[in-house]
């Protein structure tokens, strides 16, 4: 029994990627069909429909071999969009039967049946209803019903299209099912074959602790599946909410201030709904119906998620001022892409952070001043290439590291003040400054660069040899030297080994 649920149904669509394509092109149902991925000649089969499977077409098969096995095979590129739509359609079809269901993956839904028997009849009748609902949205599903998800899942793979396992008979019903019927993690099937296991009953008969000691977590999961034991909690799925506020107008609006007033009322309603759900606006889409019969749509991406009406209204007004509607407006619709509200950083030892609306306004103005590409959080890229750093959108720091914050951090800082202060920082020259370098015994002895640099090298250390991307056209290779010049500056001097040129790369400061 899972979380107090005594009966569960598993609704399963085999070859889901192919089924999603069939849903888009119903004529394909009558032909052997394979969803393929990759570029020719390395295309492989992702999923196949029942007709193609009967001809021996299996997932992972090279495209050429699939055509040899089934010459009339129709191949279509697997479509993530079609799969997402089909997955949602299957969930909604099941939602019409039971309010409690779990999204277990593409083409797999677990439905809680408790309380449905007085409405729809016995398990078999509910299973048939689930199948009808799935068929109504264009998906041919098999249904297994048992006391747990594991047993229901196996029942949905074998036996009749609606397969009901009576309460208490799950283990006995699963025992004769061949292990080859199910998909196992890589290597596990070979291990079972080596152990001489042929059916789920053979696997369930092994001691669970022994299987766990030899095969780890995957082995324990396999044993539970064979025994029809269900240990994971039931995670109910709820349809995603639709955050939109719209308003039709009895009059035409031709001026921006009047339009902003209407948008502000719609925003107030939208923000109140979002605030009640503890969500904030990440992206705001505005769609204006025009008197000319057309539409004017704009999108406002926020630098920081917000749910305050005033700054959102100001940002909307700025956007519409920059891109005004070409005709008077007769209707407005606002929709929000919402994200969960981040917990306020009101930790005891943390300093206060900027208010989201202040930060959003400051970031927007900074982007106007210096360009959006020049404002953000520095990110160190995992590369040995010097100066391989990028900027990411500034998120206000997120959650602080509790281990570093607080009085402990202060004490750590006190300790640092008594010992070496820290690391020697460098200042990058972007782009590196080309220089002429005299060498003596292979080491830099004098550095010259127009217009004002002409200094002898007092001390130098190196070379530090670096290279990367030697396998493609973006190859680089350089030697780095730390040099102290007679003008008391300390530089990182780089010698490009591919172009045999020198440059001042950074200065220690």
């Amino acid at each position: 029994m899972v979380d107090g649920l005594s009966r569960l149904a598993c609704v399963r669509v085999e070859g889901f990627a192919a089924a999603a394509l069939e849903r888009c092109e119903p004529a394909l149902r009558e032909q052997p069909l394979a969803a393929v991925t990759g570029a020719p000649p390395a295309m492989r089969v992702v999923e196949a429909n029942a007709r193609a499977r009967a001809e021996g077409v299996r997932p992972g098969l090279p495209d050429a071999e699939a055509v040899v096995r089934c010459p009339s095979l129709v191949r279509r590129p697997a479509s993530a969009e079609a799969e997402a739509a089909a997955r949602h359609a299957l969930l909604e079809a099941c939602l019409a039967v039971s309010p409690r269901l779990e999204d277990a993956g593409p083409g797999l839904v677990h439905v809680a049946l408790d309380g449905l028997h007085r409405l729809f009849g016995d398990d078999l009748e509910i299973g048939r209803r689930l199948r009808r609902r799935a068929r109504a949205v264009g998906l041919d599903a098999r249904v297994g019903i048992a006391a747990g998800r594991a047993a229901a899942g196996v029942a949905a793979r074998v036996g009749p299209l609606v397969h009901v396992l009576a309460p208490g008979t799950e283990r006995a019903a699963l025992a004769p099912v061949p292990l080859a019927t199910l998909e196992w993690p890589a290597g596990l099937a070979a291990t079972f074959a080596r152990w001489g296991l042929a059916t789920l009953g053979d696997l369930a008969a092994l001691p669970r602790a022994g299987v766990g000691a030899r095969l780890g977590a995957t082995g324990l999961a396999a044993h539970d599946l064979a025994a029809g034991v269900d240990r994971a909690p039931f995670r109910p799925w709820t349809p995603p909410p639709f955050w939109e506020e719209a308003q039709g107008l009895d009059w035409e609006i031709g001026t921006l201030p009047a339009l902003v007033l209407v948008l502000e009322r719609a925003l107030e309603r939208l923000c109140a709904r979002l605030a009640a759900a503890h969500l904030v606006v990440d992206v705001l889409d505005v769609r204006l119906a025009l008197a000319s019969g057309g539409h004017h749509a704009r999108t406002v991406s926020l630098a920081a998620p917000l749910v305050d009406v005033a700054p959102l209204s100001a940002l909307l007004a700025l956007e519409l001022e920059a891109h005004p509607p070409p005709a008077p407006v007769t209707g407005v619709a606002l929709s929000a892409r919402a994200v969960p509200r981040r917990a306020a950083p009101g930790r005891l030892w943390h300093p206060p952070a900027p208010a989201p609306r202040d930060l959003a306004a400051v970031l927007a103005r900074l982007a106007l001043l210096v360009g959006g590409a020049n404002v953000g959080t520095p990110v160190v890229v995992d590369s040995h290439r010097p100066d391989a750093d990028t900027l990411a959108p500034f998120a206000g720091g997120g959650e602080a590291d509790d281990g570093a914050a607080g009085p402990e951090a202060d004490r750590a800082g006190d300790a640092e003040a008594r010992t070496p202060a820290g690391s020697l920082a460098i200042r990058r020259l972007r782009p590196p400054r080309p220089v002429e370098v005299e060498t003596r015994d292979g080491r830099p002895s004098r550095v010259r660069a127009a217009p004002a640099l002409d200094a002898a090298v007092v001390t130098c250390a190196g070379p530090w040899r670096l290279s990367g991307h030697w396998w493609d056209t973006d190859a680089w290779a350089r030697d780095e030297w730390d040099v102290e010049l007679t003008d008391r500056t300390l530089w990182r001097l780089a010698h490009d080994r591919l172009t045999n040129s020198w440059a001042l790369d950074a200065v220690y400061d």
Binding site: P354, P378, V379, D401, A405, L424, A425, A461
Partner: protein, 187 residues
């Protein structure tokens, strides 16, 4: 703690020094202290000289740093600092004016100080020569004392570190404990 003496909420600090004197290392030290306490720091970088890799190696939590690259536009950099200084919530706003500091009228410098005072932001200005002058509550001059190299024989193989001195030029309020603070930076 040195950083607590260098930075004060609502006040302006100026660090001046030539190249290779330790002023950027001092900035990194301040960024590290602020971000490790959970505070947010903003760095307005006029010459696009900040090196995130060495800052991360020094212990700066880069996720809590807002980096504004002015790409040589000094006027835009000053406007950016003015915006940030008026935004309460940043523990530190640093302006690195680089080797060609802009001319900042005294009135503008005092206006900046007033903005920092109202928002409670610690303002730090770095450059090769003074920019904010008398508006700074603390002015520090960095000078390099010595370099340390390592390696067998007469030819060094590795830069070990640098020692620099922080000379207090002017300070409002309580006196600095010592006229010169010696700091050791490891390479």
């Amino acid at each position: 703690m040195l950083v607590d003496r260098l930075l004060r909420q609502g006040a302006m600090t100026e660090i001046v020094g030539p190249l290779s004197s330790g002023r950027t290392s001092t900035l990194t030290l301040c960024l590290r202290a602020v971000t490790r306490r959970g505070g947010l720091a903003a760095l307005v970088d006029v010459d696009h000289a900040f090196d995130p890799r060495s800052a991360a190696a020094a212990g700066v939590d880069l996720g809590r740093v807002l980096w504004v690259r002015a790409e040589g536009r000094r006027r835009s950099a000053l406007e950016a600092v003015d915006l940030l200084a008026r935004c309460p919530g940043f523990a530190l706003v640093a302006l690195d004016v680089g080797e060609s500091p802009p001319r900042l009228p005294l009135a503008a410098a005092f206006r900046l100080r007033q903005a920092a005072r109202r928002s409670g932001v610690a303002l730090l200005v770095l450059g090769s020569r003074p920019v904010v002058g008398g508006a700074a509550a603390l002015s520090v001059l960095t000078r390099r004392d010595r370099l340390a190299w390592a390696g067998p024989g007469p030819v060094p193989r590795r830069l070990v570190g640098m020692r620099s001195g922080l000379h207090v030029v002017r300070k409002q309020g309580a006196p600095w404990p010592a006229p010169v603070e010696r700091l050791w930076w490891t390479a």
